[in-house]
Symmetry: C2
Subunit: 884 residues, 2 copies
């Protein structure tokens, strides 16, 4: 009985056979079939089925596998004309794993397999290069010991360091052939000490051990964790690829290089790349020697160059994307070792997309799919002139992209004062709080010494598109002395500072800043995106400035206007505080009456910019104590006043009493959102009145009102929405507006209960907007402020998470809640509008999920709007199904 | 064609016809059929169907309704021998609403309907009592104006106050017949002013208006809100009951009274009650005249008394429960107006249950259903001797039942010190925090001036069964002067104070305290409960003392041992702080090594008490900063030290820095639970080692180990549980314990995500314990500490909630999550044990839900264990279905 086929030569496979041959095996086979067997070093793939059978049989080869490997090896030897283990001119092979999807944690690569104490001498002779031969052997023994047999890499490295120290050299390449010989001996000893077994001199035994090690690594801890995290089934198994080694270091008719099918920096249609004569691939990458531009290959090896250009075109047409290849020339013969879609900067990606469409290489939809939407955001922010070198004072966490510079200020009021004088400033704080937000508006950029990507400073800055660097921990911010210190450098208030929010660099140099301009290619691509996407894209914007930016980047409306930011302006805070500190409803109303015209003015500005388009205004959401000074500061001030200024004590005591009364243990879960509106209806009344009057004023002035939506935050119970909606309709009615005609009323869905009972809530809502930030906080019990700095890094290290759930939505948990909410809401009202206004609204992977979940629009920060447009188009192209 | 039947005489109905006749109508009909038509004032019920038809026809009577009412009224007049509106001796009737379920917010009652300017004179003559006649008329006009026509009650009351002031009298009963006549006039004027319509003199018009008003009230706001909250369909409608009025104030052969079928205080089998000769029902209740004991009726009206005794027995046998009745004797004729199951103190309820079983009135299961489980808890706590009168200093919120007294102390260490000297103390604080918990153990009772039923003090005290009064807001607690002030009374440290946690009373008197004793009846009832219930009952207990209490009250195991409470003892806190403040892992390990033997000792004590039974130990859960001083206090101390004690500044600064670093914005959602264990594995290692060593030590010493369960808190991700479980198994293995044999490992399910993905989590769990407290906090986005004091009251007022979701589980939201978690968990492991350890585990209504949801056990505070046993039995009797 013929046994099952477990081994495929590269010439037998194709990229359609990914499940059987793994990603790498299918890729090599594909390239072999495009370019012909002579261009790709020969070899064979042991299938994933072989691995599965091996695991099922308790780590024994299935029937026929050994024979098939032997046969394939025989064919390979014949094809190459060398034999594995030959003592004169041995065939060497590499052994690599390759699962259906690329999987970190799997055994990676064993190179140079086939060398032994005898054949290494043959290789030295055949290549005329003893150093090369022993370096190859040393690498084989090292990789075998570590990767196949599990000897800790530290112990192997320690041996290298030992020998280098004894020779007084710094680099591996400075070791002599004899040194390498010694290393081989040392590695063998280490291997035998650790495992009790010597390094196998029989190349067949080496191969057998390597194949088994690849199979076994599928069951390893790291691979298992990775699979669990990525929901890869345990029973896929991995394939094993055995491939002839070729060498670019056999003399001046040999060489190695990398080549791109187009310019990898600009995207221009000319191929680019680097190469080295008489060198191996890793030398090109390591930068030990200065590489030559690929154009020079035309002079040195004209035939090879012509072949290469031809191959690049062929591969690009075949893969329908810009290619990044590795090649080796062995004795004048060109081998292609790898091809993959080229990573490229955003600007180059846009150029390729447009050129590919013009060249009819790709359709618009296909061209859109070649883009990385997240990378596009960087093109919209100012940057330091890339032509200028500057000295870096320190680095922090790049938190909001773009470059900014100006005079250092340390407080929000100082930033505001400087802005009024037309001066550019950089606001520097240890960390920021709600009351600093006015300073964000006024500053060119923000720099903090504490916090991470999810700190208050980072979030607010990203929302406004202000460049921001956080967590620059070398920075000692002395607020009292009004200076910054980094090592010996001191920067005082008013002195110059620059930050690059894309790289995290901080500098005292004056670097020219280049203003961003949206390229024609960018505009063209966005035009395609708008034709293909089903999701509408709105922006989160609180000011007319934000709204103008949002419009400029193509937002079709404002999906979230956070009215609280309007109260944080410096002229508002005292009035807001007076309102909060009022001990009677009358006192509160009087303070609110003063705030009303200001808030109305804010809305008028916003509505004028957005006239005729949707504007969703969220009623006050944060707890009131965010507008008050902190209890710690006040307590300290009071303690000092008892010593220094007794006359101030009574007023401070009163303030402290009120602040203490309003303080909450878990403000995120406390008196905020509609709870606040139900507790103090007069606040929401004022807001609704301001909104309604502004809408009327703008309609009268411009003839066009916005498509007004009033949004009620943090609803749990149907009755909450009912009560607040009644208030909204009453007050709007008093101001002459009619529900359903002049405005609609809806709610944030941002609590797990609201998702579970969305059918009831939908009875009182014209729209839902999923607040995925708070839904993530409550659904996971994760306080973003607390978790991102402390827990997240650890969780990623341990393998529990692979990224922050605040960046990309946690699909199985929070995504499931969102889908329930969407589905239940629509069971009550088929025409319910569904939006997402959390930060996930600007994250491409999350956008794809929202598309699949039947959401109508996402709302994100203005600078993320183009990202969202492209991501939404990609989602629609990949999954054209319509959810209903 | 005969029209649909919309009107039923009382003689036609029964209690099975509740849907059609409403609860009240069906009840009167039932009593009529048991006692015969002569014992119950006659009348008829207009059906709920009539109401529904009326609403559907846009507030018009359906065909035939008017005719049927007329006919029923004719029969009533004939039966009674009087006519509505008769000018000599008129028939008077009451009109009452009655929906399928009793519903606040519905129009309640119009009495004396049928009186007019003329018939009132007839009534005066017929009863020989002009005052009575005009008082009846005044009440009719007042009720008609207010209830039927919506004239505000304040305006009607103002008229009464006006007339009383003019006469210089205080009580309504002091008004003369002329005064009442004047009130009738005034009410009529008010009615006409308000509605433009006069008071109808035609009794048929009065009746018609009252019937329509009842129908219309079904659509009123309050009734609609109530229905929404209680999920009562809008289309049920309400019935209307029209009943003859009878009068006990027609002279000495008339009277009114209330009678219980057994002694309503003790439950003893002799009927009890009170009555008044020549009086109406409301006089008996109002206490204006001194009532006579029902026994005296035997002398005054022997036949009536005999009839009444007979009727009480009949009703009790019929309703199979102790009855609370109202009766009226009109001219020697006994009428029964109402009967209902009697409310009774817990002790009487137990006695009735036992007697009823002995008398073969009820089966054990039926007897169990007559009990209010929540009331039983009060029998387990010490009480002030009810025979002793004492003066009350002030009242607070009764937060944990039982009486306590002792010397006042103001700090936890003082309480501990006093306890060591054997002195009883009451710990008085403005509010309490985690570090005060040691003081709770030491104190006889706890009193705070702030906080509500869900404050820290209330929760901890209830958990320990310590009497506690919170929120005694008149109390001025001066910690510096070490004294309490209430008005002019000052109580200093060391002086005597008593509190009653059942009533909220605070006293300076020395009142004898009666120790609780579990009665034989109680024991017997609990024995029945254990036979019937399917839910197992465990207790939350952290100390051997708690565990003994739990055993005494019948807990079958410990469902939650919170190991953090062990660290809060005064000898542990410094070591715990040293551990937290350690800047290196080594430093932390050294501190943990000191804590290990202490914690081991704690566990040994607990395990000895519970040997052979389940003990579920939860690894450390709260955030570490709970063990540190507060940032506010430290900051103030530091500010003062800068003035007064500069040498202390550096140490304080270091401490403050660490406290600040650990501080979290939302600690509830921060670095706690298994997150802590993953961040600092050495803490969980120490705990597991202590648990394992204690289990072995107890097994060796006593021959019996507990059924040990290690519980990992706050799990969101499968991988979290996997990582911590691996740690537990490793350390337990090092200590010689074997997973699955010597212990099991499980997790708290207390986050929404965990419920939604419980199938994955169950792969690594032997049991789930639903932490419904935290699940409620996260699922609703409600910080318990913040919400209960601020939002809850308002929400109940507005009609959004009818009670705290922390008291009774929010079934549609949090209950849905729990059911998903239970169901998904069991899809992975059919034998997964499911428990509930939130406070809901001691709430009868929640227990019924857990029973229905397939939960295996509840765990509650030791004092709630008997409550839970009875509630679980009731649930099983009512819904014997088994969930699978």
């Amino acid at each position: 009985m013929a046994s099952h086929k477990y081994v495929y030569e590269f010439t037998e496979g194709s990229r359609q056979m990914r499940e059987l041959l793994g990603g790498k095996g299918a890729g090599i086979a594909e390239m072999t079939s495009i370019l012909g067997g002579d261009r790709v070093p020969a070899g064979f793939t042991i299938t994933t089925e072989a691995c599965v059978a091996y695991m099922k049989r308790d780590r024994r080869y299935p029937d026929g596998l050994q024979e098939q490997i032997d046969a394939a090896l025989g064919i390979l030897e014949q094809r190459v004309g060398r034999e594995l283990g030959d003592e004169q001119d041995p065939l060497l092979v590499s052994v690599r794993s390759g699962a259906r999807e690329s999987m970190p944690g799997m055994l990676d690569t064993v190179l140079n397999l086939g060398l032994s104490d005898r054949s290494v001498e043959g290789l030295a002779r055949a290549t005329g290069n003893e150093w090369f031969a022993y370096d190859s052997y040393r690498r084989l023994v090292q990789m075998f010991a570590n990767v196949v047999r599990g000897v800790p890499e530290e112990r192997l490295q320690a041996a290298i360091e030992d020998v280098k120290a004894a020779r007084g050299v710094r680099l591996d390449t400075e070791l002599s052939a004899d040194d390498l010989r010694e290393l081989v001996v040392r590695f063998k000893v280490l291997l035998e000490e650790s495992t009790g077994e010597p390094f196998p001199q029989d190349p067949r035994a080496q191969l057998d051990a390597a194949v088994r090690a690849v199979f076994d690594s599928w069951r390893g801890d790291r691979a298992a964790t990775y699979r669990r995290l990525n929901r890869i089934p345990d029973d896929w198994g991995t394939a094993v690829n055995v491939q002839q080694m070729v060498f670019g270091n056999k003399g001046n008719s040999s060489g190695s290089g990398v080549a791109f099918s187009r310019d990898e920096i600009t995207g221009a249609p000319e191929p680019s790349g680097d190469f080295l004569i008489n060198a191996q691939g890793e030398d090109v990458v390591s930068g030990v020697r200065n590489t030559k531009d690929i154009a020079e290959l035309a002079e040195l090896m004209p035939a090879v160059h012509a072949d290469l250009m031809d191959i690049l075109r062929t591969l690009e047409r075949h893969y329908r994307d810009m290619q990044d290849t590795e090649f080796t020339v062995e004795d004048g013969r060109l081998f292609m070792l790898q091809t993959r879609n080229a990573k490229r900067p955003a600007q180059a990606a846009l150029r390729f997309a447009c050129d590919a469409v013009d060249e009819k290489l790709l359709s618009e939809a296909e061209a859109l799919l070649t883009l990385d939407p997240a990378a596009l955001e960087g093109l919209l922010h100012p940057t330091f002139d890339p032509a200028v070198q500057y000295s870096v004072l320190t680095h922090g966490v790049p938190a909001s992209p773009g470059a900014a510079q100006g005079a250092v200020v340390f407080t929000a009021p100082d930033a505001v004062a400087a802005a009024e004088l037309g001066r550019a400033v950089v606001l520097v704080r240890p960390f920021t709080e709600a009351e600093d937000v006015a300073g964000f508006h006024a500053a060119a950029g923000i720099l903090t010494s504490e916090g991470g990507k999810a700190s208050h400073a980072a979030l607010v800055a990203r929302g406004m598109g202000r460049p921001c660097v956080v967590g620059a921990s070398e920075l000692d911010v002395d607020l009292e002395a009004r200076q910054i210190r980094v090592g010996d450098t001191v920067v005082r208030e008013g002195e110059h500072l620059g930050i690059d929010g894309t790289t995290g660099a901080v500098t005292t140099d004056e670097v020219p800043v280049a203003a961003p301009e949206m390229s024609d290619a960018f505009r063209r691509v966005l035009g395609w995106a708008d034709k293909h996407r089903r999701l509408d894209v709105h922006a989160n914007a609180d000011t007319p400035d934000d709204a103008r930016t949002a419009r400029r980047f193509g937002a079709n409306g404002i999906g979230l206007c956070r009215t609280e930011h309007m109260f944080m302006a410096s002229d508002r805070v005292p009035k807001m505080r007076a309102m909060i500190l009022a001990s009677t409803v009358e006192g509160r109303r009087a303070a609110l009456d003063e705030l009303l015209p200001l808030q109305q003015g804010d809305f008028e500005g916003l509505f004028e910019v957005m006239a005729g388009r949707p504007v969703t205004v969220r009623l006050l959401d944060p707890p009131l104590h965010e507008f008050l000074p902190s209890r710690v500061e006040l307590s300290v001030e009071l303690a000092q006043a008892r010593h220094d200024a007794p006359h101030e004590v009574p007023a401070l005591e009163r303030l402290l009493e009120r602040v203490t009364a309003l303080e909450e243990t878990n403000p995120m879960l406390g008196t905020r959102g509609c709870r606040l509106g139900i507790l103090h209806p007069e606040i929401y009344e004022m807001q609704v009145r301001a909104i309604a009057r502004a809408a009327r004023a703008v309609r009268e002035r411009t003839g066009r009102a916005p498509e007004l939506e009033v949004m009620i935050p943090l609803v749990n119970y149907e009755a909450e929405l009912e009560v607040v909606r009644r208030l909204v309709d009453r007050v709007a009615g008093e101001e002459g507006l009619q529900s359903g005609v002049d405005y609609r009323v809806g709610t944030m869905i941002e609590l797990p209960r609201a998702c579970l009972l969305a059918d009831r809530i939908a009875h009182h809502a014209d729209f839902f907007s999923f607040g995925t930030n708070d839904l993530t906080q409550t659904g996971l019990g994760f306080s973003r402020d607390d978790i991102e700095g402390r827990i997240l890094g650890r969780y990623i290290d341990v393998g529990i998470l692979d990224r922050s759930p605040f960046e990309t939505i946690d699909v199985p948990g929070i995504g499931q809640l969102l889908r329930m909410g969407a589905w239940l809401g629509r069971t009550t009202r088929r025409d319910l509008t569904l939006g997402v206004c959390g930060e996930h609204g600007g994250d491409p992977e999350s956008i794809a999920f929202f598309h699949r979940s039947g959401i109508d629009y996402v709302s994100c920060s203005p600078y993320r709007v183009p990202v969202a447009r492209v991501a939404a188009a990609q989602a629609a192209i990949r999954e054209p199904v319509h959810w209903g």
